[in-house]
């Protein structure tokens, strides 16, 4: 019969590479990395936010509400990037059966949904002064709402399945198929409605760019939020690894006294 994935792994000449992320090594490595990531996060995010909130001028036609941008844009960008990271982690799980990557995807979802919610809420709060409404069916906002739904479904599926490997497999399949449909939704939504929302203001095209005063602290907060994500991801993945280990121990104990 077909060989098991474990023997396949042992023969792979890249095995030494993947070995570095086996759960035990991951725990010790990530434990060492945590303080450094935390330091980078603190050194970028806090100055960025302080700079953005207190040392930028209030724009003449935006008022001081423009400062929401330092929460809104980083969280919005992270929300999308985190989904992409989950897609990559899911693919690694499907191809390599790498437990840590499945757990990392699970951990990332929780952070991603929080970021999405934060972007939605800051956007809504910003929309009130800007467009006179908390919500409009603008394509950008709408596709974000859809992204939120994808996160919800993904997390609900994780929560509904007891067996961790089954859950990892099924959520990975959902993440892959879901990504295709999320992309489709993006285009569908654009087709469906032309919107009010800002274009890509960080593009290289100078014409579209916001002025430098706002731009520099924004870059700092962007870096800071990315570091924050890595930090949270490490912490959360470590928790998931421990939970998984506890689950295994519990199951084993249960089998012991049948």
């Amino acid at each position: 019969m077909s060989e098991t994935h474990r023997t396949k792994q042992a023969r792979d000449r890249w095995n030494w590479f993947w070995e570095w992320a086996n759960p035990v090594k991951f725990m010790s490595l990530s434990g060492k990395a945590l303080p450094w990531v935390a330091a980078i996060c603190a050194l970028t995010l806090i100055p960025g936010l302080v700079w953005g909130f207190f040392f930028t001028p209030a724009a003449e036609n935006f008022g001081s509400s423009v400062k929401i941008i330092y929460v809104h844009v980083p969280t919005a960008m992270m929300a999308i990037n985190i989904w992409v990271m989950m897609l990559v982690a899911s693919l690694i799980w499907i191809v390599r059966r790498h437990h840590v990557s499945a757990l990392a995807a699970k951990a990332a979802a929780l952070i991603g949904v929080t970021m999405t919610l934060a972007a939605l809420i800051t956007g809504a709060v910003w929309g009130e002064p800007m467009w006179g409404t908390y919500w409009a069916w603008d394509p950008r906002l709408t596709s974000f709402l859809i992204l939120f739904l994808f996160y919800l479904g993904y997390m609900a599926l994780w929560g509904a399945i007891d067996n961790p490997d089954t859950a990892a497999d099924l959520t990975a399949v959902l993440c892959i198929v879901g990504s295709a449909f999320a992309l489709l939704s993006r285009y569908a939504v654009n087709f469906w409605n032309q919107g009010l929302h800002q274009g890509a203001s960080l593009s290289m095209d100078q014409q579209e760019n916001v002025s430098d005063v706002y731009w520099q602290p924004l870059v700092l907060t962007l870096v800071g939020t990315s570091a924050l994500f890595v930090l949270l991801l490490l912490i959360r993945t470590r928790t998931e690894v421990r939970k998984r280990r506890t689950h295994a121990l519990e199951t084993r104990e249960r089998m012991a006294d049948v």
Partner: protein
């Protein structure tokens, strides 16, 4: 394969389920909306294509868990998995049976229900056509969602949660095609895009769904 198709359709029609009830649910949603929204015929006509699409989608959704759940519970799925037909084929056939028992009747009856919502004549045809092209995608995507949730107790609501975001592109293009058609505008683009989604789903999703089923059977 054909045996499976015939069996599934026979079960769908016989088990006091699928067929008539999908239609009935569709009818009831169409009836409820005027009660909720108010009887103003101009607004109704304007939202009619959208409501018809949302109604068809919900009716479709509610019968999704039948696709695999019953076969899972009584052990048929185990036996099918060890039978000499590829699981991908079985999934595709089951989605087809679901469409024949649910999507097709909905499509055929939509023009009649459109009248209930004061939709004028050219709109009928476009609602019909867009549903005809779009509902196979709904069945196929739904079969994928059903495959994901087949092992779970009362996966019904979870299934809805997983499937509805996947339905959004189809819904947007379908409703857009119908609305534009009803308003006499050009609607070849949304129709073509929707046909693309349908073709893509039918080509690719059976593989994802059968993988999910094999995982769930473990």
């Amino acid at each position: 394969m054909i045996a499976l198709l015939l069996r599934d359709m026979r079960l769908g029609v016989r088990s006091g389920g699928g067929f008539g009830l999908g239609l009935a649910f569709f009818l009831i949603v169409i009836v409820l909306v005027p009660f909720g929204v108010g009887p103003d015929s101009e607004i109704l006509a304007r939202i009619a294509p959208g409501i018809l699409w949302v109604g068809a989608l919900l009716a479709c959704l509610l019968s999704l868990d039948r696709i695999f759940q019953l076969d899972y519970e009584d052990g048929t799925l185990d036996l099918l998995a060890t039978a000499p037909i590829p699981m991908e084929g079985a999934v595709a056939v089951k989605a087809l049976a679901h469409w024949l028992v649910t999507g097709l009747p909905l499509t055929l009856s939509a023009p009649i229900f459109a009248t209930l919502l004061n939709l004028e004549s050219p709109g009928h045809i476009w609602v019909f056509l867009s549903l005809l092209i779009g509902t196979p995608a709904l069945s196929m995507i739904g079969a994928f969602g059903a495959a994901l949730t087949v092992g779970l107790k009362r996966g019904g609501l979870l299934l809805s949660l997983l499937v509805l975001p996947l339905y959004i592109p189809t819904l947007i293009f379908g409703a857009e095609a119908a609305t534009r058609g009803a308003a006499g505008l050009e609607n070849a683009t949304p129709l073509a895009l929707m046909a693309g989604i349908t073709a893509g789903s039918i080509a690719l999703l059976p593989f994802a769904a059968s993988a999910a089923i094999r995982v769930n059977l473990r």
